[in-house]
Symmetry: C2
Subunit: 653 residues, 2 copies
Amino acid sequence: MTDDLRFVPRSEIARALSEANDPIVRAGLLATASRLNALYMIARAGSGHIGSSFSSLDIMSWLYLNEMNVQKNKNVSDVFFSSKGHDAPALYAVLIGLGLLPEAMLDGLRKLGGLPGHPDVATPYIQTNTGSLGMGISKAKGMIEADRLAGRARRYFVMTGDGELQEGQLWESLQGAVNRNLSGLTVIVDHNKVQSDHYVSATSDLGDIEAKFAAFGWNVARCNGHDFAALRDTINSSRMAAKPTVIVADTVKGKGVPFMESTQFGPHDFYRFHSGAPSAEDYKGAVDALQATLGTLSGQSGAAPMAVESRPRTPASPTSPQLHRLIPAYADALLNAGKQNPNIVALDGDLVLDCGVVPFRDAFWDRYIECGIAEQDMVSMAGGLSLGGRLPIVHSFACFLTPRANEQIYNNATEGTKIIYVGSLAGLLPGGPGHSHQSVRDISLMANVSGMTLFEPATGREASMALNWMIEQASGPCYLRLVSIPVALTYDAELAAEPVVGRGMPFTEGEDAVIFAYGPVMLSEAVAAAQELRQAGLGIKVVNLPWLNRVDADWLRACVAGIDHVFTIDNHYREGGQGERIAATIAQLGLERCPRVRCLGLDEIPACGTNEEVLRHHRLDRDSIAAFIYASLDPATDSKTLQCSILAKAGRG
Amino acid sequence: MTDDLRFVPRSEIARALSEANDPIVRAGLLATASRLNALYMIARAGSGHIGSSFSSLDIMSWLYLNEMNVQKNKNVSDVFFSSKGHDAPALYAVLIGLGLLPEAMLDGLRKLGGLPGHPDVATPYIQTNTGSLGMGISKAKGMIEADRLAGRARRYFVMTGDGELQEGQLWESLQGAVNRNLSGLTVIVDHNKVQSDHYVSATSDLGDIEAKFAAFGWNVARCNGHDFAALRDTINSSRMAAKPTVIVADTVKGKGVPFMESTQFGPHDFYRFHSGAPSAEDYKGAVDALQATLGTLSGQSGAAPMAVESRPRTPASPTSPQLHRLIPAYADALLNAGKQNPNIVALDGDLVLDCGVVPFRDAFWDRYIECGIAEQDMVSMAGGLSLGGRLPIVHSFACFLTPRANEQIYNNATEGTKIIYVGSLAGLLPGGPGHSHQSVRDISLMANVSGMTLFEPATGREASMALNWMIEQASGPCYLRLVSIPVALTYDAELAAEPVVGRGMPFTEGEDAVIFAYGPVMLSEAVAAAQELRQAGLGIKVVNLPWLNRVDADWLRACVAGIDHVFTIDNHYREGGQGERIAATIAQLGLERCPRVRCLGLDEIPACGTNEEVLRHHRLDRDSIAAFIYASLDPATDSKTLQCSILAKAGRG
């Protein structure tokens, strides 16, 4: 039983809500059942944001039960959305609890065809796509302008995080709301005081939030975000304001489960429940706490206690000891580089843990700058540091660093200084967070920066060598693209060539075709595909070309000599990926006999799901790759059986 | 004489400054002489920002004469820079007046090898590259962090605009300066109340600036930015603050020349002297006014009046009646579209005039949203409008719209809505403003947005057809890339094919080679190059392919059939431009006989200069193109003479 997952069925929530009369008790029942259900979803998915979901759930429950006219037609319904977006499990749990999403979706979080890790408009009742911070108020403003043109009037509630208040766009969006008199808009700051890694005050203190919003002309109120009566009264009184309103709701990250509550952590500890799945032990403790609260609330309501159902936890996939991780290797390399080069300054955007910067930070506090969720500011600061003679190394997730601060990165490049940008969580995987976090445009976004050299390592050893090359040998700015997920490599983790710009290294040999790829995810799929094809009698040369925007023409000429078929595999959109660059280079070589190039990569917005689901969905898994190559080569051999088997495995047979 | 340009020689400024004792009179002398010299530079260059230069000149003069320890070594000197950057003529004039830049540079504004339209660190005493707004405080923060690590302490003065306060990054940068205790930093807002098109209050009112900065924890002071004593006292008292300081300096745009002063314009007029060159009449009137002030100041100082020298105005290149402009055609097309489609909402980022949105705005005030200098907010608002059922058309300069709001554009695309983005001032030209404004990365930045269709028209007619296609036929988001400069077309301005995705139209015929290009600048150069090569006996097919990220494979196959040499010309970096895409497509066609592809485009940060200088510098002018093609084809004919002539014209002979 301890390994079961527990949830409150929709029917029980409906019964309890119908039996309770007091709006405050009803909100408490929905919020607590939703905490249990959100936790169920996150445990089932294996990842998700507990802390923010719990801090926001009282507010969401109150709004949906008491404030909003909710309609399936999104253009008629009152509007709630969370600009931070990573509290999506909370919103899903509320919608399931109210019967607006099917109960079966409790098992669908971060699954293909289920509920994405961050909100997406393809889901009923989801009003806009969020997950990258700071856009929410602007989005609401546009919706309200559309309402005005259509003669509609409805209520808007936009939730933001508090760490999110570090983003420039949020402040950019405030003044226009006042100037254009968008008084129907209420912003609620889920002020839980903790951002991704640490307390907001320790990361990049916000100062006086109320004074800031007031200075931008907003009506400002503040209340306890876990006190339903206070929420009710604050929202009510703000309805009289002739200006847009912000309610700073004081909340507790992890609210509802004492040992998950942020008040239980020391000022310099990492908060443990920002993202990721709970351990089995933590899960059980949390469920017990939430069930106890449910019992208490049921007693207050006079209704019978809600029955809790349980389902077996899906057996976790065995954690293979062979899983290979780049981030720890990068962390070591950065620490060592810091020891050898006193010029290095590391900058971070509230992802010090995920980006592997903790060892450097702990060793060199004076050469570490925590910038908070402020990528543009961080990148321009790096520009200033570089002008001042330092070597800045800038860290964030690739999906945020490269598009959000793109103009700033280019501006730095025009100054001829050297800065190293490190983008983690790069590529299609993990598939769970969804498209706001799947960085599949960053090669294109960085390759067009004049003088920038891009590199994606396939092993920890290669990551370390690449960082050293960038520090010691590169003359201009560099971008180190890092896959963050652990990967079961299909090649030797010690493989790594000395960096020579534009040149790669074969991981397998063969003469029927060559595959160019990079990074641990796609190289592992490519090598596995080559192994499958070997059984079909085809010899495939898989080449690791880690230089994403540099191709040495002579090396390439030798690489494809005598080979009729070239395949490229991008962990990225095909458009602007490495494959297009290789194909373009081949066309420019002026070969007597030109091989046929076929580029594999993404052509559509990436799907959300498990890593396996997502690879398969986009036909970038080993079986799909093998089948595609096999079909492309259309060999005259009689290995029809194998072909069928390959195609069948890829779901095309 | 009326057509001469007048300036105060450096020697006269030095003499007057040495003869005057009162710091206030000295600052007035330097500022007024610098106004005259900045006006000289702008008139000579044919473009530049008079209004902002004049509003900021008293502040700059005071700082350089009285506050700053100025050293040639940028890492030792006290630091001043302007974050808005377009007031560069003012700064150059002060530096020339103080003997820090050579007097000959008065003739070098916006010329190759001279003084760039916006500041660049390649120029002595220029501390950082600005021109795109909102980055300055972040840059200074990084420099101060570098100082701390190096054990240096010096003073920092960063000037910002007031329209610039609409940019989110500015607010993003404030809190960290307080949290990290950067008390050596003084920001001076050149609060001249007028931005690119209109009064700030009419564009996107800033509300209470002082309250805003104070809420972010800054020490705030305010004074008259044209009152030297007030500047002195305000700067002095701010030195005691233990926090970073902002001084809101109330100024007048165009200060010093009564008819150029912004106080002389009605609240809804366009301010006439934001950018561009003065007319001959305005120039003369301004010079007379400034010389009168100089005389008055000299009288006050007790020194002899400064002698003013004059030089003949370089004869303006004759304005050909054949110059073709896309923006007016676009403006008409947008207006007509607005009449036919009530769903269209136009958004603008303080460039309503330059982007051709005035006719639409004046006809449809209710469907026009002026967002100010807030591209991220504007783009996300467009996302909300689109979710609300409208068809937003978003306008700004390409250089700001596509990188600054890149993540927001992608977020909108993930929602599956349709939005049309229109980027003006696209491409390498005009060459005068410099690299902050030369949009040569936008194809790459937009092409990687899933579902986005890019189009660059070569004629006004094609611009109009493209807009209609985007409104009526496109299913997803689109990017219309517009060259803003008037072009002397070398082909018929009526040429335009019905839009068929991925297919283009030959402008000339020939079988020795094919050139793919797009847009009026490069197509005009390509057609002219083909005409030159025709004289050398070579037949060149020049194809207009306006679809920047779509190539119809069948059409392309037919286009290159039987041709051995393919050239592409990008008004963009080669990396990520159209040429790479064409080359990659050819490699994927699997042709029996593959043509050799050669891609022309930018490979380095674009130079600043006149349009002719810049094209030639990057070897993208007609002569360089013809010479390159001729040399590439290396024909066995005996047309050596012609070859030599072509190569000589391109500077390679």
